[in-house]
């Protein structure tokens, strides 16, 4: 249940679930996200343009021609959180990763004082929860990594990180959908396309609330899958 509702300008609402970052709070956010989307597609809630879940906030953007702040507030106040479900299509994914592309693995092993193989093992044995997707299209923020692997961002972010790179910072793991600058510690790379701007029906592989496990592949398999 959100703790506070406030307006963001004249066409947005902030549902504030507090300051903590954990799965149970994020699950509440995602339940409300699914409910708002469903009510909007059913035609029970008019004028919703975008609905963006993050760790502990849900931001709703609406069309001021069709609705307004007070009407959305009234709707949100009637939501019975005990009756909300995570969407039925909550998927579990297995994503291939090739650790040979882990350009920061060596340094991580030095900083954490843990063997490279052990780092890989912990990563492979983690069932990740997709907290949110964003910043750029398809980019997932997943958790929770074992506290043993907690690392800060790189002091100097890289100018160029190849698309498909998988990084970790603190308890989070991400996948870079595009070649971009970035400061995460890169442990590997996936050949799997996680965002497809030519597919209007299913452009994004993951959804908030999904779970992800990684599967280790060789460089040869990586190349084979990349060409598919």
């Amino acid at each position: 249940m959100f703790k506070k509702l406030s307006n963001i300008g004249d066409c947005g609402i902030l549902c504030d679930f507090g300051e903590e970052v954990n799965k149970s709070i994020n699950t509440e956010v995602i339940k409300l996200f699914h409910y708002v989307k469903k009510q909007s597609s059913n035609g029970n809630l008019l004028g919703i343009l975008n609905c963006t879940p993050s760790y502990n906030k849900l931001i709703i953007n609406f069309d001021l021609n069709k609705t307004n702040t007070n009407r959305i507030f009234d709707f949100l106040k009637t939501v019975d959180f005990s009756k909300l479900n995570l969407s039925e299509d909550n998927k579990e994914w297995t994503i291939p990763i090739c650790y040979d592309f882990g350009m920061d693995l060596k340094n991580m092993s030095k900083v954490l004082k843990i063997d490279k193989e052990e780092i890989i093992n912990i990563h492979l044995n983690t069932v990740f929860f997709v907290y949110m997707i964003g910043f750029v299209p398809g980019h997932p923020f997943m958790g929770d990594l074992d506290a043993k692997l907690f690392l800060n961002r790189l002091t100097t972010p890289r100018v160029k990180i190849p698309a498909g790179s998988i990084g970790i910072v603190e308890k989070f793991c991400n996948i870079y959908p595009y070649e971009s600058p970035g400061g995460w510690n890169i442990i590997g790379k996936t050949p799997k396309k996680i965002f497809n701007s030519r597919d209007s029906t299913n452009p994004c592989l993951l959804s908030p609330g999904n779970t992800v496990k990684f599967k280790s592949i060789s460089k040869k398999e990586f190349e084979k899958l990349s060409n598919e």
Binding site: K37, G134, S200
Partner: protein
């Protein structure tokens, strides 16, 4: 598909296909994009009798030079734009905005510059032949999403359009001049992160539009806004018009191509009614912000929508 097309002889600085924007995808990290100046976009489509959701070409500062290679069409340019039409005998006529023109094979549209504004629009009768992604033909060039492989229009691109000219008459619309550097805002979700003097400074001092401004965000330079709580927050969803303040205390107004989530405190949000005015202010302009209340912002938006409606009703045949 027919084979009517323009060739791009000069692309302009930032020429992209845009419509009303792409929605219902922000939870996947896709920003809405869409036309920056909604009013000018709407007038452009209305002039050539298109559906209000039809895609147009948007340009910034300098527009494209287009040669009609095949077909005949009718076009309109809106905003405040200096442009010429060059016929096949190389004779030029100076174009006027907010009216339609017929253009024939071999003729050129030379969109030279926007006049003391940023964005202009080119709509053609029946629309451009571009395929939508998730119900929109808006370009999000940062993520290669949209027509033309998600890229800005480039030299020698062919720009296809759907049909030959059918309408016989030409039309004009009476558009009021509305330049303004006074922008009304509502207090943002993290307004209280800022010191009392900074809250006051934000709405009494000038903030200058820096050259690091594009469709993603408008960077401002002015009196430093002092954050007294925390210069970072947990990433949360972004809405266009939000004014975030990073640790350096210089505000950034997030525009149509904004990142979908962000971790900087937001001092204020530009009201919807003033967004078109905001984005049309050129680099180097000193903006002045003014706090108002939600109810006033909603009234202002009603007035804004009524004004557009009234403007569209002035559409008349050029005799």
């Amino acid at each position: 598909m027919n084979n009517n097309f323009f060739e791009v002889l000069r692309p302009g600085i930032n020429t992209t296909f845009q419509d009303q924007g792409r929605f219902n995808l922000q939870h996947f990290g896709v920003a809405p994009s869409g036309c920056m100046d909604y009013e000018s976009f709407t007038i452009a489509n209305a002039l050539v009798s298109n559906d209000k959701a039809e895609g147009v070409l948007e340009f910034a500062y300098q527009g494209p030079l287009l040669k009609l290679i095949k077909g005949q069409t009718k076009f309109a340019i809106t905003g405040k734009v200096h442009f010429k039409i060059i016929n096949s005998k190389s004779e030029t006529i100076n174009g006027e905005c907010n009216r339609t023109y017929d253009i024939e094979e071999g003729e050129q549209i030379d969109i030279l510059a926007t006049n003391k504004t940023v964005y202009g629009y080119l709509a053609i009768e029946g629309g451009f032949s571009v395929s939508p992604f998730c119900n929109s033909v808006s370009t999000l060039s940062r993520a290669n999403i949209g027509p033309n492989e998600g890229k800005k229009i480039n030299l020698k691109n062919k720009i296809f359009f759907k049909k030959n000219r059918q309408e016989k008459n030409n039309y004009f619309i009476n558009v009021q001049n509305k330049n303004n550097n006074l922008i009304r805002v509502l207090r943002g979700p993290q307004h209280n992160y800022f010191s009392d003097s900074s809250k006051k400074d934000f709405c009494s001092k000038n903030y200058k539009i820096s050259s690091l401004t594009d469709r993603m965000g408008m960077r401002l330079e002015g009196t430093i806004l002092k954050n007294v709580v925390s210069t970072n927050i947990r990433s949360e969803g972004i809405i266009k018009g939000s004014i975030q303040v990073p640790a350096d205390g210089q505000p950034i107004v997030l525009l149509n191509d904004h990142p979908t989530i962000g971790g900087y405190p937001k001092i204020a949000n530009v009201i919807s009614a003033d967004y078109d005015l905001l984005v049309q202010n050129v680099l180097g302009t000193n903006l002045l912000f003014k706090y108002i209340e939600l109810e006033e912002a909603e009234k202002a938006f009603k007035l804004y929508s009524e004004n557009i409606k009234e403007t569209l009703e002035t559409k008349s045949i050029i005799k």
